[in-house]
Amino acid sequence: MNLTNQQETISTHPPIAPTEKKIESRIHIGESAGTPSFESLPVKMAAIDLSVYYGKFRALKDISIEIPENKISALIGPSGCGKSTLLRSFNRMNDLVNGSRVTGQVLLNGKNIYEPGVDVVDIRQRVGMVFQRPNPFPMSIFDNVAYGPRLYGIHKKNILEEIVEGSLRKSALWDDVKDKLQQSGLALSGGQQQRLCIARAIAVEPAVILMDEPASALDPISTLKIEELMESLKEDYTIVIVTHNMQQAARVSDFTAFLMIDEDRAGWLVEFGATEQIFTNPQNEQTEQYVTGRFG
């Protein structure tokens, strides 16, 4: 074989590229990440075709959403989109607003909480709430946490002490306050006060904790502490949080619901999905516009 022929022989070989052109592995961002799809998760609460009216004004329109158990679900959306209204409808806090009216259903463990005859106090025990501004009662730390249990008829000192310690431990406040349980709750820092309010909420052993902007009045470090606390609380509770802070929703939640206002100024649910997916590859163009800060 002469050299020229040999070169031709070489050129007939396919080039030895280190890779083949075959597609071997694919991952869709947001998928196969850590969060399972909702379909596979037990549902703790759900809204079915829920509309909420304040007088003639329809604040929420036909919301259907399933809140997975032992997960953190965040409600985000521009101001006035009805996310707080939706949150408050989960424990009938809207009942306190004059002229409010609800159509559709809100299910807790599969039962409609707006059914006639349902005990609202019982609902609010099972679905607790933490508000934007820490609002400890003007009483001692101990009495703040024991307030709910006492209301529900627990008066034995040792049982109350157990509940108070357990609740303060779960809310990551015990080590800070164990030596000053008789001091006023109002003497604590803002972040501590908010954790006290969380301890107060969990002292009555709710199944669900609703949080309405729980960190918006706090400094950044206290905010991150509350977020870490939420992460540990979800082992025992289902959490729904409303936040204006999209980054907070991204950091803290497993699932995110994006709400918007339609032309009648009624809030509607645009998209609800795994947070990892909503913030990396939302399915809806309006969600994309909102989470990238181009709208809202």
Binding site: P18, E227, E228, F279
Partner: protein, 229 residues
């Protein structure tokens, strides 16, 4: 302590990068072994190694992007996660080099022309050792080590040049082995490139620790190589 979630995720990702690195090291050693033993069956197993490497790389990339989107990493965290994206790309390419060698092993397994296996094995061992220590430096953010390791690339280049000249002379003496020798050139080229890419990992280590994006000047840059040839 705040940011436990992010810290935990970062630590997990660092473990995953080390795991990916060890998969690449093993793939390269396996590939060279199949060449040495002219073992077609084992060579095809290296193809599977490469698939697993690619999958692991995509999984890590996916996780890093999710952390960018959800955890807003900044400063050191940001540099570390950005560096991980670079490093896994380098590792995946090294996996491709291993697979390339395995493919050559399949092609020349029936050819009895001698292979300079001593030099190839030595090159592979050097490159793998460099990679191993570079990843250790990456995780420990050991800047001194990151500066030292690329210098070892000279040893790999020396061996590459030895094989190159040996091969050219052999081809001139016996044109019938040009085909075979060209394949061997690919093999040593792949190992040599692997060692080059270790330098890129070291650069990222320095970036994480200092914030400085720099190119470590190694003696065998493309122009120097061309001059030499």
């Amino acid at each position: 302590m705040p940011r436990q979630t992010l810290d935990r995720e970062i630590q997990h990702l660092q473990d995953e990068v080390l795991l990916l690195g060890s998969m690449v090291e093993q793939a390269m050693l396996n590939a060279i072994d199949t060449l040495k033993h002219r073992d077609k069956k084992a060579a095809r197993l290296v193809y599977l190694d490469d698939e697993r490497i690619n999958e692991k790389r995509y999984a890590i990339e996916n996780r890093v992007l999710i952390l960018f989107a959800t955890q807003q990493p900044i400063a050191h965290d940001l540099r570390l996660l950005a560096a991980i994206l670079e490093v896994i790309t380098e590792l995946e390419r090294m996996g491709d080099y291993a697979k390339g060698i395995a493919k050559i092993a399949v092609r020349i397994s029936d050819d009895e022309t001698p292979i300079p296996i001593r030099e190839i094995t030595r090159m592979g061992d050097l490159a793998v050792s460099m990679l191993h220590r570079a990843l250790s430096a990456f995780i420990n953010e050991d800047v001194n080590m990151a500066y030292r390791i690329p210098k070892e690339d000279d040893l790999v280049d020396d061996l590459y040049n030895q094989v190159y000249h040996k091969n050219v002379n052999a081809m001139i003496a016996n044109p019938e082995i040009i085909d075979h020798s060209s394949y061997i050139m690919w093999v040593v080229h792949n190992i040599e490139r692997m060692a080059d890419r270790v330098t890129n990992i070291c650069e990222r280590t320095i970036f994480i620790a200092t914030g400085e994006l720099l190119e470590i000047d190694i003696s065998d840059d493309e122009w120097a190589e061309e001059d030499e040839i």
